[in-house]
């Protein structure tokens, strides 16, 4: 009997084509759409996870002749992803919920569902590849999503299929047309975070933490010398490197360079204050055997940032510290630090802090 694969289907073109390719390759495909948050408010234009998306995924499966199920992972997603998202903002950080969704929801909770139906494999529409038991960037580097996948358990790589990772987005759309998946072939891409309506993340913070949440309360804009230069309407509206919404009248462009929840301060400064020469990450997960201290790796501190060369200074429990060869701008606590060797993903973690100066490895005797 053919191997069974559970395909996580959002109703978009990538996961639809992933399912279709697996059907073509002879797998016993079962489609599943995860219901991750409540549809009570019903936002008609939401590109992902809406009722329409569920219906699109169901139609695609029907046309492929494979079963489709809707799986309610709402409470686990709320706990593992949404709560964390809100807490991170409350702590002056900029969360990256897609990473936690991949780590906990798609490649852990959904895997339990795969086990329940004897599915050997789990597949998604991510632009990344699995090769030789390792995670590798998608062939289309402009669409590469490996940055979001560092947190999955290494053993899951043995069960993971990423069928569209070997092709470009236009190729994916072409496959959709070739296979008659017109429902999804030209669907626009979702850019927003799926549970954040209209891209306004403050709404969900307000909903969870209340109108008087400190993260949404008025606070000072300060310079790094401590002088107060204005007021803002809540530090959760800001992220490191942001220029929009800052006080004006400076000779050079100003950026958010730090967020201090203790006194609700948003620290602003010129570009050089944005630069980091070192970075520490926590909750580190390795997808290969961990490299040695002193190893040179490439790191990416945000999605689509160009990789930067760095040296591993310290690996401890779930923490890693790196020294960057060249300064990198806007290293943001809460975002992911992902370590690469070329296209191979070595591992990653959540950025804890940046260091302005380059730390050095202690010179060893002998």
């Amino acid at each position: 009997m053919a191997d069974r694969v559970l395909v996580a289907m959002s109703g978009g073109v990538d996961s639809s084509v992933a399912a279709a390719l697996l059907v073509e390759q002879g797998y016993d495909v079962v489609g599943a759409t995860m219901k991750l948050f409540c549809h009570d408010g019903d936002l008609p234009d939401r590109p992902c996870c809406s009722l329409d998306s569920v219906n699109d995924a169901r139609r695609v499966c029907q046309s492929l002749g494979v079963p489709h199920y809707v799986l309610n992972l709402e409470s686990a997603f709320g706990r593992d992803v949404v709560d964390d998202f809100v807490n991170e903002y409350a702590n002056g950080r900029t969360p990256i919920p897609c990473v936690r969704c991949n780590t906990f929801t798609k490649f852990r909770d959904l895997l339990v569902k795969a086990d329940a139906i004897d599915a050997r494999w789990i597949a998604t529409g991510h632009y990344a590849r699995v090769a030789g038991g390792e995670l590798v960037r998608g062939r289309d580097h402009s669409k590469d999503q490996s940055y979001f996948l560092w947190g999955i358990d290494r053993s899951v790589l043995q069960r993971m299929i990423l069928p569209v990772g070997a092709q470009t987005k236009p190729e994916t759309r072409a496959v959709a047309h070739r296979l008659g998946l017109e429902v999804v072939a030209e669907k626009r891409e979702s850019q927003d975070i799926c549970f954040v309506p209209d891209g306004d993340h403050t709404a969900i913070i307000r909903q969870r933490l209340g109108d008087d949440a400190p993260a949404l309360a008025r606070g000072p804009f300060v310079l790094s010398d401590g002088s107060v230069v204005g007021t803002h309407e809540g530090f959760a509206r800001f992220t490191i490197g942001q220029r929009r919404g800052l006080p004006g009248g400076y000779r050079e462009p100003m950026f958010v360079v730090a967020i201090r929840p203790a006194d609700r301060a948003v620290v602003i400064g010129p570009r050089e204050e944005l630069l980091g020469r070192g970075v520490t990450a926590r909750s580190v997960n390795w997808l290969v055997d961990p490299p040695a201290v002193g190893a040179s790796v490439e790191v990416q501190v945000r999605h689509r940032a160009p990789p930067a060369r760095a040296e591993i200074l310290r690996i401890e429990a779930d923490e890693v510290e790196l020294a960057l060869d060249e300064a990198v701008a806007a290293i943001t606590p809460g975002q992911s630090l992902v370590m690469y060797d070329g296209d191979r993903v070595l591992g990653g973690g959540f950025i804890e802090r940046a260091r302005p100066a380059r730390a050095m490895l202690p010179v060893r005797a002998a």
Partner: protein, 388 residues
């Protein structure tokens, strides 16, 4: 894979061939609008009136007490909102109901509350039966309407409708019962049971989806939900679904004629299924088992340590179709409000599987379903036998 087994008759049933045959002319040559004065209209109107009479006979009603609707949900809404709105000025403002009602009733009550009604939920016994003393305490002379379903759609427990309806009548409250799952399984007679309003639906008994009826006892005033024409005495404006009404009448007649034999057969099959499952999975918890009376077609079982969602997928992939809790619009599974209301723990409630029997059920199917069920349970509990 062998033929799939359908164990979801409480969700819907296939249209019976006799019903389809009865309806066909009304999609073709007899297509008239019953409100038209010409021959096509007269012909349709006559057929519709006859259908109404035939449905009335099935529940011991007068024809003018039957109002065709689009199904059970509309009928429940007419029953709850229609009567409450008509009575709200009379000083009776309360609606008495149970927490195990179908969402059509609970949703209508919720809407009435938004319009100013007071909702009162009866206590439930853990047998799945309403606590009669709680009902009697809540349904006082300030109650506009009391609504208790006859047969629960998830666990099949039969409520003491005669007793509840008699109390409601004594205190001057309108009594409504959602009899969607009771119709064809329980004898329903408006002449001997003092309910005032009753809901029935077509697609649970072999008629198509989109047709149902609400019985409204003479003298019970309702405010219509729709506004427009004068169809059905103004109670339900809109051109009648003639073909479906005729199909419904045919299905209802067949259901009543076959009721006793069918009930005996389904109860036997249900017991067979229950015994086979309990024999293979001794710690299976059968919900509603301790009720004084259970409808013959519903078996609701929770297996500790499993979850409904995974079980439903695994069963379906092995060709056994059943359901869990109440499905939401997206098709995902939510924990059952019914099981929660009768004191079932959240863990057990989220493991519930409803198997409902009917026209497509026979011994061979039941035996195989029980076998597949046990295999899926063992899998879910990580005790899969080698070679499976």
């Amino acid at each position: 894979m062998p033929d799939p087994i359908y164990l979801d008759h409480a969700a819907t049933t296939p249209v019976r061939p006799e019903v389809l045959e009865a309806m066909l002319p009304f999609f073709g040559p007899r297509f008239g609008n019953p409100s038209s004065t010409h021959r096509w209209g007269r012909e349709a109107r006559t057929a519709l009136d006859e259908a109404r009479e035939r449905v009335a006979q099935c529940v011991g009603a007068n024809p003018d007490e039957i109002c065709f609707t689009s199904g059970g949900t509309e009928a429940d809404n007419i029953a709850l909102l229609g009567t409450w709105r008509a009575r709200r000025e009379s000083g009776r403002n309360a609606i008495v109901t149970t927490p195990i009602e179908h969402k059509a009733v609970l949703g209508a009550v919720h809407q009435a509350v938004r319009e100013g009604a007071e909702e009162r939920f009866c206590a439930m016994l853990d047998t799945g039966i309403v606590d009669v003393s709680s009902f009697e305490a809540l349904a006082g002379d300030d109650a506009a309407i009391a609504s208790v379903m006859w047969v629960n759609n998830e666990i099949g427990t039969v409520q003491p409708i005669a007793q509840l309806a008699a109390h409601a009548r004594a205190v001057g409250a309108v009594f409504h019962t959602d009899a969607v799952q009771a119709f064809g399984n329980i004898a329903i007679d408006a002449r001997s049971t003092p309910f005032d309003v009753l809901t029935i639906s077509g697609h649970k008994i072999g008629a198509p989806k989109g047709i149902g009826a609400v019985y409204i006892r003479r003298g019970t005033v309702i405010e219509p939900l729709f506004h427009g024409g004068t169809q059905d005495r103004g109670r339900r404006p809109g051109t009648e679904n003639v073909a479906a009404a005729i199909g419904f009448a045919r299905a209802a007649e067949l259901a009543i004629a076959e009721r006793e034999a069918k009930v005996a057969q389904l109860a036997r099959l249900r017991d067979r299924l229950e015994h086979a499952i309990v024999a293979r999975v001794p710690d299976a918890v059968v919900h509603g088992r301790d009720a004084a009376e259970r409808a013959p077609h519903i078996l609701n079982v929770s297996i500790p340590g499993t979850d409904s969602e995974s079980m439903l997928m695994a069963l379906d992939l092995r060709g056994v179709a059943c359901s869990a809790g109440s499905a939401c619009q997206s098709g995902s599974v939510s924990p059952s409000h019914v099981l929660s209301a009768i004191g079932v723990s959240p863990d057990l409630a989220s493991a519930a599987i409803r198997m409902s029997l009917g026209a497509l059920s026979n011994e061979a199917a039941i035996d195989r379903a029980a076998e597949v069920f046990a295999v899926c349970v063992n899998k879910a509990r990580g005790m899969a036998a080698a070679g499976d």
